[in-house]
Symmetry: C2
Subunit: 407 residues, 2 copies
């Protein structure tokens, strides 16, 4: 597997376009289209929030059916959540506009939205935007990059990645893009992620790989503990790599899954690092826990704690907050077993040793905590399971961004 | 029942003292002592965090035994959590210092701490402080008020209250004090609360009343979602009201429980309103839910959401965030049933009507949201259960306070 340039258009047959449809933002692109020249099998994971956006319901119907998926239309600015029947009608109108211009059945067109909840989408602008993008579809890297920019809301950087790997002697590619900065606590965040691969794989195995990988990547990040109404990840596989179709587990499946894990973990970490107002990536790694589930819960509790996040922002080695978060996570453990370390590119420092605080050098702690990525590393000494979760610090800018989001 | 002046010293036989022991803060009081002239039965609720402070373990041993409770010694500045055996020894040394000066058995002396986790208490200062307070014990209102100030950390105001009520023809009093401003998400917050009543009641009924009332009051507040290692509520009942002892449920028990509910709810709301950095009290009321448990989970999800809290700070009527929080709370419901209102002393405004957003007057919304207390009122239309939770807004000052707590 090797990293290559590009994102959603990197794999064979994937094209993208974007446009400034004036949905809510002015003077920037706010719609993107992804198109596979060949009908693709799809897999997806969607928000676990019972208040699901209209577009999430629309996409679940397609992805969970046997239908192929050929295009995705995305808008930023308005989330199309809590919008009743009018919201669902907007999804259908968008898909039908795509049918008209691309000559693909409207029920093979997914739609995704991110932005303010509880506001209706301007359907005319949406359908006009879809129609404007169709003739501009391109397989170039630049087209993919532009699409990844059009779906941003409070994101400060676009997020895309692509890797090349081998399956059955054939070169295959997996590329993807994602957005997400606030309301990020995926159970399956408003994170949106779209992946395209030219690998040939059955729908069942694609979904299994996606579901497993999402649990260890996107579902292990948090910005603010708020699980969005719109979280959507869709992966399309169009088979244009011409490998022998992956229809059972084995070397080929493993190669694909390795690529998928790398792509998802990279996009997830970039989303966490670009969390609203964030100044750094905050990572928690739990090792030697009783079970994988325990390790995941503990790691997420640490990166999810407001007090921990504020300490990371302040470069304050207030390790008690991390232990406290572990303590209320719901996992049972004995603090007498626990060792806790601060880690970064600037060094490693043990601060808590099996029930007892260690007197440490504050200057050394400060140096470690000033890095762009700070890791809380915890050895539970009770088993062999491990997990890592990613979040970001809690800053003045988070409050600023969210105290007046709508205006 | 009527509100009277005072706090922890309001009931007969309760005395208090405070001192500046120099534990961590300089130039302010940081230790308090509560003393009942007559041995009291006690009841308590303690943090559900598995990382429990040494003092919590000490107090649980006493409160969960048949022993009477006669004194409580509290310090602010250092929490005595994650401190191993040395921390537990500090509790014992404190209780023994009290035994020496007050001539009460050391195992009838509770200790409580609040402040930084993972730092050892200076035992000499602690025992010297305990000894200095004993001769200063007084039943005056002023002594109680001073005690309520000595236990403050980032609190901006002290919190105390007292009520008078009748049991079996006798006048009885219940007074209390609490502190808590950050790391507040009680499952049983570092909130500390101490209540003293002169009512005569059995230990069993006292514990039952306390456990039930805490669930609807202190356990329904949140400042930051972080459940402390030190949360402690202790209620002492010394029987000096000379009522016939309450040993069964009935009118007398109900009178006491009503007083207890009022006192706990008042202290809990004051703690939420004084949450770290808070500019206002943020209340969520759920009505007509399927079950009480559902109503509580939904109400807590709303006041616990960072995005909701930031919107409350910004007076932004971004109602989708409240619906979103309800959606990820874990409670199953249909948004098509839900009505959502903004309420305050400045008016009531419906913004979401059974699945559909209502176009509302932004100026009216702003007026409502500018009040000191803002309520999100949600009618679920699916049952008859209700619950209220209290929190506060998320502000720049929260980040400021917590980015550099230790210095």
């Amino acid at each position: 597997m090797k990293l290559i340039d590009g994102g959603i258009t990197a794999a064979k047959g994937f094209e993208a376009a974007s446009t400034a449809a004036g949905i809510k933002y002015q003077g920037r692109t706010d719609m993107a289209m992804i198109y596979s020249t060949s009908p693709a099998v799809s897999a997806g994971t969607f928000t676990s929030n019972v208040v699901k956006a209209a577009c999430v319901k629309w996409d679940m119907d397609i992805v969970h059916s046997e239908k192929p998926l050929q295009a995705v239309v995305i808008n930023s600015g308005i989330a199309n959540a809590c919008t009743g029947k009018e919201g669902f009608d907007a999804c259908e109108a968008t898909a039908k506009a795509v049918e008209e211009v691309l000559n693909v059945p409207y029920d093979t067109v997914a739609v995704a939205s991110t932005g303010v909840i509880g506001m209706q989408l301007p359907v005319d602008k949406l359908t006009a935007g879809a129609k404007a993008m169709a003739p501009k579809l391109e397989g170039s890297i630049a087209a993919g990059t532009d699409a990844s920019k059009a779906i941003m809301t409070t994101d400060t950087v676009n997020k895309e990645i692509a890797v090349e790997f081998e399956v059955g002697g054939k070169k295959a590619v997996l590329g993807g893009m994602s957005k997400g900065s606030g309301m990020i606590h995926p159970n399956m965040c408003t994170m949106l992620a779209f992946l395209g691969t030219d690998v040939a794989i059955t729908k069942e195995l694609l979904q299994e790989a996606v579901s497993e990988v999402v649990c260890d990547t996107f579902n292990m990040i948090t910005v603010d503990g708020d699980t969005s109404t719109n979280d959507t990840l869709i992966c399309m596989a169009n088979g244009l790599a011409e490998n022998e179709i992956i229809d059972k587990k084995g070397t080929d499946y493993d190669s694909f899954k390795e690529a998928l894990l790398f792509v998802c973990e990279t996009l997830a970490k970039r989303m966490a690092a670009d969390g609203e107002g964030a100044s750094k990536l905050f990572e928690a790694t739990i090792v030697n826990a009783k079970s994988k589930e325990d390790a995941k819960i503990l790691a997420r509790a640490i990166v999810g704690s407001n007090l921990s996040k504020a300490a990371i922002f302040g470069c304050d080695a207030n390790f008690g907050r991390f232990l406290c978060a572990m303590g209320y996570s719901g996992v049972d453990f004995d603090q007498e077993d626990v060792e806790l370390f601060f880690k970064s590119v600037n060094g490693t420092l043990k601060v808590f040793d099996k029930g007892t605080p260690i007197v440490f050098d504050e200057d050394e702690a400060l140096k470690i905590m000033k890095a762009d990525t700070v890791t809380i590393y915890v050895d539970m000494h009770e088993g062999s399971a491990k997990a890592t979760a990613w979040g970001c610090d809690l800053t003045y800018d988070y409050v600023k961004i969210n105290a007046d989001y709508r205006s």
